[in-house]
């Protein structure tokens, strides 16, 4: 039954629907963008109506929200958190800094393109992005999940060596456990 292709499709559809409507966010408040999370979650914009909800630990979270610039120092932690999350998992790059460095484009101490280090599913641009933009980003993620295209985790697994190489370039004292998913 499970092997049957059609039924697999149906199961996938239902699962994706559920995943789409239940997004548990681990907001990694690395940069100034974290300030936009509270308005997004509270009364004014109320992201919870989309099924978005904060998660306390990476073990429970579905989405890793990188809010703003990532310094070299925090990158290691972010990678660690991402690797601890359970499959399926998604990454949202939040703010321009995650796309190209934003106003820190020439900083010696921040990483410019997040996608080189973690498989970003959705970028939300803006500096800062307003809560509406954030909600729109979540909606985009939901859409991608429903379509089954939010497969950043698979991508990460497939291209682990490339990602690792990039990560190790930034992080000189690499003492992390192997990613064993």
């Amino acid at each position: 039954m499970v092997n049957d292709k059609n039924s697999q499709k149906i199961v996938d559809f239902i699962q994706n629907w559920a995943r789409k409507h239940s997004i548990w966010v681990l907001a990694y408040g690395t940069g100034c963008g974290a300030i936009e999370i509270p308005p997004t979650m509270t009364s004014r914009y109320d992201a919870e109506r989309l099924g978005v909800r904060g998660a306390a630990t990476p073990r429970q979270a579905d989405v890793l929200l990188i809010t703003g610039y990532l310094t070299v120092k925090t990158l290691k932690r972010v990678i660690r958190v991402y690797e601890q999350m359970q499959d399926p998992k998604y990454v949202i790059g939040f703010g321009s800094c995650t796309i190209n460095g934003g106003m820190y484009y020439d900083s010696y101490n921040t990483i410019k393109v997040l996608d080189k280090y973690l498989p970003v599913d959705v970028y939300i641009n803006g500096c800062m992005p307003r809560p509406e933009a954030v909600l729109s980003g979540f909606a985009r993620l939901q859409k991608r999940i429903a379509e089954g295209r939010a497969n950043g985790a698979q991508q990460y697994k497939d291209n682990l060596e490339w990602y690792r190489a990039n990560q190790k370039k930034i992080i000189p004292n690499w003492i992390m456990p192997e990613y064993n998913w």
Binding site: V2, P58, K76, Q84, I175, P177
Partner: protein, 615 residues
């Protein structure tokens, strides 16, 4: 020569032989040791039944030994637990010093306990009581750690108790002209009121000390934690039950005969309840497993005392059942602690963590005993607790129920602390080398764990002997009206409700086990305890992330006012005051010969002045 004589001779000879054979060969010593515990145990259960008697005449006093069902029940605890602890001790004592010393006192303790149980006359009761005291004292100071405080404290309390008992015994002898227990009991209703009150009080002082009853319990935590764990398991499991044994006899056969007995039982029941509460609170505070278990023993003995002090059939059954269970699970827990001590060298929760994958069998034994201790069904502790509550409610001890329930709930805190402290938490690199304890230590623990399970599911196995024991003490057969009115244990040994519940539990458990491990569902994988979500930080190998210092601090803060007053401090104050007084008395001897001469003259003058009063 009766079998009882032979048993005592084997104990005695075995003890001496064991001691001296250590000079020849360690293996021989172990064999002698095991033989001198196991052979008498076998002989006792095989050949000595209720009604057998033996006598020995010493110094114009006839010592009489015999068995009834009640003492047989306690013999079961002593010899059963003793045998297990003896097997365990072989492993535990391997490579330790003073082995012969330990074995010698171990055997003597078991002999003394058997002697107490078999004694029909008070003198042999007292003799064995004292032998038990000093042999256990000698083991208590085995480690040589802080013995001037711990050991002496234990012995002083024991001695005060024992001397009170001695007084009672000689007064009884004065009143009845006989040292027989039965004559004491028969004469008891004819005594004057003050004697009716004081004689039980004096006996209860002795038994209360051994049973670690509230104001007399201060020796217990130190002594229990200081003795080698192989011995503590019988110290706490069996030796303290001697106090319970005596208490039951005094309460049932003497105090029940007088109208004032009600107040006696009330007071003792409340003391038991308070003991349970205080013991529990202090157990939660301890950072050392030995201390924790020691205080826990105090608390558990409190339940037992409460149960037997209530005096109803159900209360008695509850107390005695709990006594048996306590022997099992506390014996096992002390053995577990001993195994951990043996393997890691420490019993401090702040040091040892994460042994579950290294010592799985020990963990299983510990888990089962903890479940039994906490009184969680389906293990045996629950049945006892249930009966205790039932008896307390039916005998209108409402506030006592609350106290007992409080301590029993708070017991979860230390239960968890014990399991977490040793077995759970981070698996530190420091303890990566730890191996499972040798089989000779693990097997007794597991046997006892299985026993707990069996007794929890089929409590009738042990309730039946308890009932016949109580009948020997003069209770009516509680079989009929107790077991028909309560549904939980409907038929002897084959009760109808707990077992289905057990099946349900197992069924549901298995279902969810399958659910969680079902391959087709999704994979679950093991990751090490270093791989935890700690804010993205990667803990280094030597980084200790375990949370164990100040483990129950919030709770301790909540109950801090209750723990500010320690009874220990009052005793210390008394002891200090006495020592200063003695120091003052010592200074009477000034060292000056003339002063002594003056003393002589003063003595003469004073005596001459008071000669009319004196002569």
């Amino acid at each position: 020569m009766e079998m009882i004589h032979i048993i005592f001779l084997i104990f005695l000879g075995g003890a001496v032989l064991t001691y001296f054979s250590g000079k020849i060969s360690k293996v021989l010593q172990d064999i002698f040791f095991l033989a001198s515990v196991l052979v008498p145990a076998y002989l006792f259960f095989a050949y000595v039944g209720a009604g057998r008697e033996a006598t020995l005449s010493l110094g114009g006093i006839t010592l009489i030994w015999g068995v009834n069902h009640f003492s047989w029940l306690f013999s079961l605890i002593v010899l059963g637990l003793g045998s297990m602890a003896a097997i365990y001790a072989i492993g535990y004592m391997k490579g330790k010093k003073r082995k012969g010393y330990f074995y010698f006192n171990f055997i003597l303790s078991i002999m003394a306990m058997m002697g107490i149980l078999l004694s029909i006359d008070l003198i042999s009761f007292f003799i064995f009581w004292e032998i038990m005291t000093w042999s256990s004292y000698l083991v208590t100071i085995y480690n040589g750690h802080d013995i001037q405080r711990i050991g002496i404290k234990y012995f002083v309390f024991s001695a005060i108790g024992a001397y009170a008992m001695l007084m009672a015994i000689v007064i009884v002898h004065h009143l009845t002209g006989s040292f027989l227990m039965s004559s004491m009991i028969n004469f008891y209703p004819n005594m004057s009121l003050s004697m009716q009150i004081w004689i039980p009080v004096m006996f209860l002082l002795a038994f209360g000390v051994k049973a670690a009853m509230m104001p007399l319990h201060v020796w217990a935590p130190d002594a229990y934690s200081n003795a080698p764990m192989a011995y503590t398991s019988i110290f706490s499991g069996a030796l303290s039950k001697m106090g319970i044994y005596g208490m039951v006899i005094v309460l049932v056969t003497m105090i029940n005969q007088i109208p004032q007995g009600f107040w006696f039982r009330e007071v003792i029941a409340w003391l038991g309840g308070i003991t349970a509460a205080i013991g529990t609170l202090w157990a939660i505070k301890q950072d050392d497993a030995k201390k924790l278990l020691a205080y826990s023993s105090v608390a558990q003995l409190g339940y037992i005392i409460t149960g037997i002090a209530i005096g109803t059939e159900l209360g008695m059954l509850a107390g005695l059942f709990l006594a048996v269970m306590h022997a099992l699970f506390k014996g096992t827990l002390f053995m577990v602690t001993g195994a951990i001590e043996k393997q890691t060298g420490t019993t401090n929760f702040n040091e040892v963590t994460g042994l579950i994958r290294k010592m799985p069998w020990t963990f299983i034994a510990a888990l089962l005993s903890i479940i039994a201790l906490a009184g969680i069904p389906p293990l045996g502790g629950f049945v006892g607790k249930w009966m205790l509550y039932e008896s307390l409610i039916t005998s209108n001890h409402y506030l006592l129920v609350i106290v007992i329930f409080f301590s029993s709930t708070a017991a979860f805190l230390y239960c968890y602390k014990f399991l977490f402290g040793f077995f759970l938490g981070q698996e530190e690199k420091e303890w990566a080398h730890v191996k499972e304890a040798p089989a000779v230590m693990v097997v007794p623990m597991l046997i006892m764990a299985v026993m707990m399970f069996v007794l929890g599911t089929f409590p009738g196995i042990i309730l039946k002997p308890i009932n016949s024991g109580l009948m020997d003490l003069g209770f009516v057969d509680s079989f009929k009206h107790l077991w028909e009115s309560s549904v939980i244990l409907n038929v002897w040994g084959n009760h109808v409700v707990l077992q289905p519940i057990l099946y349900w539990i197992i069924g549901i458990f298995v279902f969810f086990m399958i659910f969680l491990t079902w391959k087709g569902f999704k994979t679950t994988r093991y990751v090490s305890t270093k791989d935890i979500s700690s804010s993205g930080e990667v803990p280094a190998d030597d980084e200790n992330l375990t949370f164990s210092v100040g483990f129950m601090q919030p709770f301790m803060r909540a109950v801090a006012p209750a723990m500010r007053r320690q009874i220990d401090k009052y005793y210390n104050g008394i002891a200090d005051g006495l020592e200063s007084l003695f120091e003052f008395i010592r200074r009477i001897y000034t060292g000056n010969g003339q002063t002594y001469t003056i003393y002589v003259i003063v003595f003469v003058v004073i005596v001459l002045l008071f000669k009319n009063i004196l002569f």
